[in-house]
């Protein structure tokens, strides 16, 4: 499931993420910098050796939230294009779970926007990770996204 426009590409994928496709998507002649973030599966969690991870998502909502992050990045930073790819399903140690690429005419905006993207994704995008160990499995500690303070009126 994905959301693609002329300045963002958000995707949820069940196959290995193609980092070079993401950087090729954001790269253009008007740019002078690309910043990427590669998040991959660590071999331990709180000191316990991890065997593998499984990711699941509320896919339609997750793509919507990823698209909102891209829109907000363009509002906040003078950047050109953004790619946010997230993997779902079974991931082995060392495999990339999330890959973000941001292009901009100048490096500062690309660095800041990329940091904003991964920090916001980890707080607001409905994706869940289960960690598998030798002696069991646990859902990873996560962050509870902020709910709207006031109720919407009935439609």
């Amino acid at each position: 499931m994905n959301s693609i426009s002329d300045n963002h590409w958000c995707d949820l994928l069940r196959a290995p993420l193609d980092a070079s496709a993401a950087t090729d998507y954001v790269r253009a002649g008007q740019d002078g910098a690309i910043v990427t973030f590669d998040g991959f599966v660590r071999n331990e969690s709180h000191g316990r050796p991890t065997l593998y991870l499984e990711y699941e998502a509320y896919e339609s909502m997750a793509v919507g939230k990823m698209r909102e992050i891209c829109v907000e990045m363009h509002e906040r930073y003078p950047i050109h294009r953004v790619a946010i790819l997230h993997r779902l399903g079974h991931l082995e140690i060392g495999e990339t779970s999330v890959f973000i690429a941001v292009s901009a005419p100048h490096r500062a905006a690309a660095f800041d926007a990329c940091r904003f993207a991964i920090d916001t994704l980890k707080r607001t995008v409905p994706i869940w990770k289960k960690e598998f160990f030798e002696d069991g499995a646990v859902w990873a500690d996560g962050e509870l996204p902020p709910a709207p303070p006031a109720p919407k009126s009935a439609s």
Partner: protein, 88 residues
Amino acid sequence: MASVLPNLRVKVLFFGRIRELTGITEESLETPEGTTLSELFERYERRFPALVGFRSSLVASRNQEFAAWDTPLSSGDDVAFLPPVSGG
């Protein structure tokens, strides 16, 4: 709940730990007009006592947007009760 009110039909989705606790991925159900997200969750607490105590560590969504617990439902809504997110 008053039975004179018409029912509305919503789709409810479960993910992560809550999906495992209920054994439900997705279901469609009828609920009286005026039901809020909170009241719908209470209904699931009665059906699955393992959910009792979980509400404070969940956030509700309605039609792919985070929503306050006292949001009233409309027919055709997609509802989910989401555990803390851990993507990335």
